[in-house]
C-alpha cells in the first residue's frame, strides 16, 4: 500500500533515473564524479534549468512559451548596452529583468486579449525579441567586464558556484508559488479544464498574463547568469534553448496537456540532459551522438508516461 503510493509519485521515478545515470557515468569514467566536473555540470545546467522552471509553469497551465531563448537574448543585450554606457550594474540588471517581464506581459496580452494560441503568440515573440536584440546591437557583442557579473559567472559561495544558487532559489520560490498559493492552484485548474475554471469564477485571463510574465522574468534572470558566464552579451546567444527547456520539462514527466506535474521534476529533467551531454563528452563520444540520444530520451520519457497513465 505504502509502496504503491511511493511508486505513483512522479518525483520518485525521475529521481531514480537521474541517480542511476549518475552512478553509471561515475563507473564509466573516473572524471565524472570530480569536484571540477560537478562544478562544470552545475554551470552547464543552470541556464536551461532556470528557463525550465518557467516553462514548467506555462506547460502545467496548458500553454507553451517558445520565446524564452529570444527574450533571454534581448534582456542580455539590454544589460550589455547599459553597461556599455557606464550605467550602474545593479540598475542595468533591473532594466534587463524589466525587459524580460514586459516581453512576457506582451505574450500574455496577445494570448488572452488577442485570443491567439500560445504557440503562435510566442513564436511571434521569438522572432520579435531576437530581432530587437540584433537591432539594438547591430549584431555586435558587448563585453561585460564589471565585477558584479564576473562574480556571478566565476565565484563560488560555500564551495558551490553562484549560478547554482540562482537555480535553487528559482525552484524553491516557483515551487512555493505553485503548491502553496492561490495563483498556483489557479494554474493547475486552468491547465486541468479552462472552461470549468472560467465557469467557477477564476480570473483566467489575468492569471494567464501573470504566467507568461513569470516565464519572461525567469528568461531575463537566466540572461543575468548567462551574461556573468560569458562576460559578454552576444545577440545571437541561446538560440534554440527554448526547446531544451521544453525537453527538460517533458523528461521530468510534466504532462504536455496541462494540469499535471511538478515543477521540481523539470530541474531533474534538465540535470539528466546535462549529465548525458557531460558524460558523453568525458567519454569522448562525438557530440553528434548526443543529440540523437537526447532526442530518444525525450520520446522515451513521454512513452513511459503514457504507459503509467494507461495502467491507472
Amino acid at each position: 500500500m505504502e509502496f504503491a503510493k511511493i511508486r505513483s509519485q512522479p518525483l520518485v521515478w525521475i529521481l531514480l533515473v537521474a541517480v542511476i545515470l549518475a552512478i553509471v557515468l561515475s563507473f564509466l569514467s573516473p572524471f565524472f564524479m570530480t569536484v571540477g566536473n560537478m562544478t562544470n555540470l552545475s554551470k552547464q545546467v543552470s541556464i536551461v534549468a532556470i528557463l525550465a522552471a518557467g516553462q514548467a509553469v506555462v506547460i502545467i497551465s496548458g500553454g507553451i512559451d517558445l520565446s524564452v531563448g529570444s527574450i533571454l537574448a534581448l534582456s542580455a543585450v539590454v544589460i550589455g548596452a547599459l553597461i556599455q554606457v557606464d550605467v550602474d550594474p545593479m540598475l542595468a540588471t533591473l532594466a534587463g529583468l524589466m525587459t524580460g517581464t514586459i516581453a512576457g506581459l506582451v505574450n500574455g496580452i496577445v494570448i488572452t486579449r488577442g485570443n491567439i494560441p500560445p504557440f503562435i503568440a510566442t513564436l511571434g515573440m521569438l522572432g520579435i525579441a531576437r530581432g530587437l536584440a540584433l537591432v539594438i546591437t547591430e549584431g555586435v557583442s558587448y563585453q561585460v567586464l564589471v565585477p558584479f557579473f564576473l562574480f556571478i559567472g566565476n565565484s563560488k559561495f560555500l564551495g558551490l558556484p553562484i549560478p547554482l544558487y540562482f537555480v535553487l532559489l528559482t525552484f524553491l520560490i516557483v515551487a512555493i508559488m505553485m503548491h502553496m498559493t492561490v495563483f498556483g492552484r489557479h494554474v493547475y485548474a486552468i491547465g486541468g479544464d479552462e472552461r470549468v475554471a472560467r465557469l467557477e469564477g477564476i480570473p483566467v485571463d489575468r492569471q494567464k498574463i501573470k504566467i507568461y510574465m513569470l516565464s519572461g522574468f525567469l528568461a531575463a534572470l537566466a540572461a543575468v547568469v548567462m551574461t556573468g558566464r560569458l562576460a559578454a552579451t552576444p545577440p545571437s546567444v541561446a538560440q534554440g534553448i527554448e526547446l531544451q527547456a521544453i525537453a527538460a520539462v517533458i523528461i521530468g514527466g510534466v504532462s504536455f496537456v496541462g494540469g499535471r506535474g511538478l515543477v521540481v521534476t523539470a530541474l531533474i529533467g534538465a540535470l539528466i540532459m546535462a549529465m548525458i551531454t557531460n558524460g558523453l563528452n568525458i567519454l569522448g563520444i562525438s557530440s553528434f551522438y548526443q543529440q540523437v540520444l537526447i532526442g530518444m530520451v525525450i520520446i522515451a520519457a513521454v512513452w513511459l508516461d503514457n504507459l503509467k497513465t494507461a495502467s491507472r
Binding site: V182, G184, A189, D193, E200, G259, R260
Partner: protein
C-alpha cells in the same frame, strides 16, 4: 400547503431570439423547501426560462422577484450574489484536482495569497458530511471518482455558499441508477434545509416520484402549474405533447 412567501417569482417573461419567440408571458413560482419540476419537450422554452433565472440569458420583457424584491439578473455572478446556483448536466469540475480544491475553486480560502489548505479540507469534510456524502479520501483527484461522487461534489459546492435557490439541469442524465438515487437522496436533504429546487428532467418517472409541483411549458407558455400528484404520469405526458391542460373532476386531496 402552508403558504410561505415564494422564493422566486418570474412574471410575464418573454424572450425572442431574432424572429423566434422562445417564451411568451411565461411564469414560474418557487417556494422554500420544495422541488419544482419544469417539464416540456425540446424547444418548449424550459431551458431558456431557467437560463434567464441563472443569468445566462436576459429576458426581453417581464420581472423577477427574489424573496419579494425585484431583482435584476444580468450575468451568472448577479445570480450567485442572490443565492442562485446552477448544476449543469456536464459537470463543472476539474478532474486533475481533489474535492476540496474543486469545492473552493475560484473562491479559495487564503491569507496573503497563500492557500489555507487545512481549513479548506476541514470545511470540505463538513460540507460533504452535512449532505451525508461519503468519500474515502479527500486527497484523491476527482477524475478517479464515480459519476455519482462527482455530482455529489458539484452539489455540495453549489449549496456551500449560502444558497437559497438551486437549479438542477438534468442532474441525473449522465448517471447510472444507483448514482441517480444518491443524487436524489441528496436533493431531499437539501429540501429539508429549506432550499428551493428547480428540477429539469426528461425522465417522467423520476419527475413524478420526486417533485412536489410541476409546471409544463409548451411553445413558450405555461400549460399548467399544479401539485404533481394531481395528475397521473400518462396525463402529464399527454399534456407535454399536446400542450393542452387536462381538466379534472376528481381532485381528491384538497391541499
Amino acid at each position: 400547503m402552508s403558504q410561505k412567501p415564494p422564493l422566486v417569482e418570474m412574471r410575464h417573461i418573454s424572450k425572442h431570439f431574432g424572429g423566434i419567440q422562445a417564451l411568451t408571458d411565461a411564469e414560474l413560482e418557487l417556494y422554500p423547501g420544495e422541488v419544482l419540476g419544469v417539464l416540456g419537450h425540446n424547444g418548449a422554452g424550459k431551458s431558456t426560462l431557467i437560463k434567464i433565472l441563472a443569468g445566462a440569458e436576459k429576458a426581453n420583457e417581464g420581472a423577477i422577484f427574489i424573496d419579494g424584491h425585484e431583482a435584476h439578473i444580468d450575468d451568472p455572478n448577479d445570480a450567485r450574489g442572490l443565492g442562485i446556483e446552477t448544476i449543469y448536466q456536464e459537470l463543472a469540475l476539474c478532474g486533475n484536482l481533489n474535492a476540496p480544491a474543486n469545492l473552493y475553486m475560484g473562491r479559495e480560502l487564503s491569507k496573503w495569497g497563500f492557500l489555507r489548505k487545512r481549513a479548506m479540507k476541514e470545511e470540505a469534510e463538513k460540507a460533504l458530511s452535512r449532505l451525508n456524502i461519503r468519500i474515502k479520501s479527500l486527497d484523491v483527484e476527482v477524475e478517479a471518482m464515480s459519476g455519482g461522487q462527482r455530482q455529489a461534489i458539484s452539489i455540495s459546492r453549489a449549496v456551500h455558499f449560502d444558497t437559497k435557490i438551486l437549479i438542477m439541469d438534468e442532474p441525473t442524465a449522465a448517471l447510472g441508477m444507483e448514482e441517480s438515487r444518491m443524487v436524489m437522496e441528496l436533493t431531499v436533504e437539501l429540501k429539508k434545509q429549506g432550499i428551493g429546487i428547480i428540477w429539469i428532467s426528461h425522465d417522467i418517472h423520476e419527475v413524478y416520484n420526486f417533485t412536489d409541483r410541476i409546471t409544463i411549458l409548451h411553445g413558450g407558455t405555461n400549460v399548467v402549474t399544479a401539485p404533481t400528484k394531481d395528475f397521473t404520469q400518462d396525463e402529464i405526458v399527454s399534456m407535454i405533447i399536446s400542450g393542452r391542460p387536462i381538466e379534472h373532476s376528481n381532485k381528491a386531496n384538497s391541499d
